[in-house]
Amino acid sequence: MTVLEQTAQTGETPLLEIHHVKKYFPIRTGVLQREVARVHAVDDVTFAVRAGETLGLVGESGCGKSTLGRTIVRLLEPTDGEIIFQGTPIQSLRTRRLRPLRREMQMVFQDPYASLNPRKRVGTIVSDPMRIHDLGSRSEQKRRVGEILETVGLSPEHYNRFPHEFSGGQRQRIGIARALALRPKLIIADEPVSALDVSIQSQMLNLLEDLQNEFNLTYIFIAHDLGVVRHVSDRIAVMYLGKIVELSPAEELYTRPIMPYTEALLSAVPIPDPDLAEKRERIVLEGDVPSPINPPSGCRFHPRCRYATDVCQQIEPPLVDYGNGHLAACHHPLNVDQETLQRVEVAQEHTPAAADESAMPEDTSGHSNPSVAPTTRDTRSS
């Protein structure tokens, strides 16, 4: 069953679908600039985002989450795969046809110090998108900038100031105002709060939530901290070395992580309670993310995984559906009961290639199993 057929059944088109998207960066050396290797930054990623939802995209530095975000809005050209925005495939659109669609998707960048032009005034920064897209007259643009600045918690008097006159949190508000200027449908926020103090971080998360309700926005929220994404996300995708290794409804990921990598990410989030922090078992991941130039064979996480066995080195686990829209790619799934495991194994034998397709949210209605008990089972012995 293709995604389009599923869509026809449920009668709801996801705002964004991406299918088997790959982004490789060639490494060239020598006078002839021959390609000697490739960085597998994003390697076969498939998912969909419904209108109005927030998809959290989580992973360590170098896992390809920012590259994926930039590829989706085509700031980077995908090497392969399909990107479908509001039903239109956009992966090979020419600039002229792409431009109107760009209005619908905007980005908020990580570093509020580097993403604002220091020589432009706030008013120009926020009105530039409107000027580029030729929206309204000068005075209308100016009025609208004032409105937007107020919406994001700044004041219209800030119109003529320069970015250096603002604190980190305020600059990030300017970045958000710029993204909102065109009334987009989709906002890709690339680590919007990582550079901010915790107190300012919570202001920003609340602001993003308010804006979503007010303007019916859809977010792809990129972060490395699972604590932060929990607050804003409806679903969360965990990325590791260019691949999605787990995709789950937000709360379920925290109560019932299936992939050992997710478990380790969760245990790295600091808990501001000395007794709990002491009692908690910390899974400290050794080393860094391996090089995406030569990713490890089989499961890419196996060199750092404490459950890894021989099979993990040889065979790459497919992303399989454990019910309730919870997908994971692992040979030794955690927190899965016997019954689900058997059902999954049977399903896998019949449709090996279909697994990726179930990353689409519509698919969950087909064979959902919401009442999976959170029984922990160690599958290493089986």
Partner: protein
Amino acid sequence: MAERLLEVNDLKVRFATEDGIVRAVDGISFELERGKVLGIVGESGSGKSVTAMTLMGLTRGVNAGFEGEVLYKGTDLLKVSDRAMQGYRGNELGMIFQDPMTSLNPVYRIGEQIVEAIQSHERVDKRTARSRTIELLRQVGIPNPETRVDDFPHQFSGGMRQRAMIAMALSCNPSVLIADEPTTALDVTIQAQIVELVSRLKDDFDSAVIFITHDLGVIADIADEIIVMYAGRVVERGTKRDVFYDPQMPYTWGLLGSIPRLDRPRPERLHTIEGMPPSLINPPEGCKFRPRCPHAFEKCKQEPGLENRVETPGHLDRCWLDVEFKRDHRDETISGGSVEAA
């Protein structure tokens, strides 16, 4: 009782700027004993980094003015000459900076930079310095230190660069290690590694640590004592248990409440501390936190002193509110009311 390494008494640091005098640190006192970890917590601009840099003698300059004492093993570091300070820096007090990307020189190999640090403090030949560098890199957990020692900073990941910075800070065996937001620029997974590393190295090198951060969660594991700073002042000070389980200052509640917590159910909204830290040139009258404090009342127009107001001795705060009132009301801020619901 362990040896007292550092005693800071009513330290004040001011900077003369074009806009006026910035009172970056306005009276901070603490003691640090060997084997202990002191956490200093506060937002950007609360004076925590200036405190750290002043201890290291890095804020000296024509526009800087100091008051108070910084006693290191009995010597006042504010009074020693610049030259003598160099002997303390590195040998007695080591520092890890916030941004590992910019603290290393990109055109020199990692090993060269650490060897240089060792040789500028001790008379050793290059071979000895190099083998000590390799040993240090091994201790901070760099794999294959024999080969990685000749890498350039860009060949290291963020976490490894921070490890290299720690190796450099430890190269002359300092008794006090000052870590200024060492994990802020890093991923949570790497952050967990670095916090664990700092706490292990503290025991290996038998030193004391000052750990500066804006995130109380980071030091819940390792701090013994915590100082909460706001607008250049200490607003709360106590043991880790005092600050986490019996916080007396509404600002501390705000900091605790702002952290998205995985150990609690997801609240509807995250607590925020409204507004921004005040200007240090014209700080507000009275309690500096008053403009942002939801519980402020008439008396807050006079600044409260840093005093012990609770049963536990040594737990100090700057707040006029009644202790019982605070105990009844702080959970609304810290956990967004979810505790009452439970």
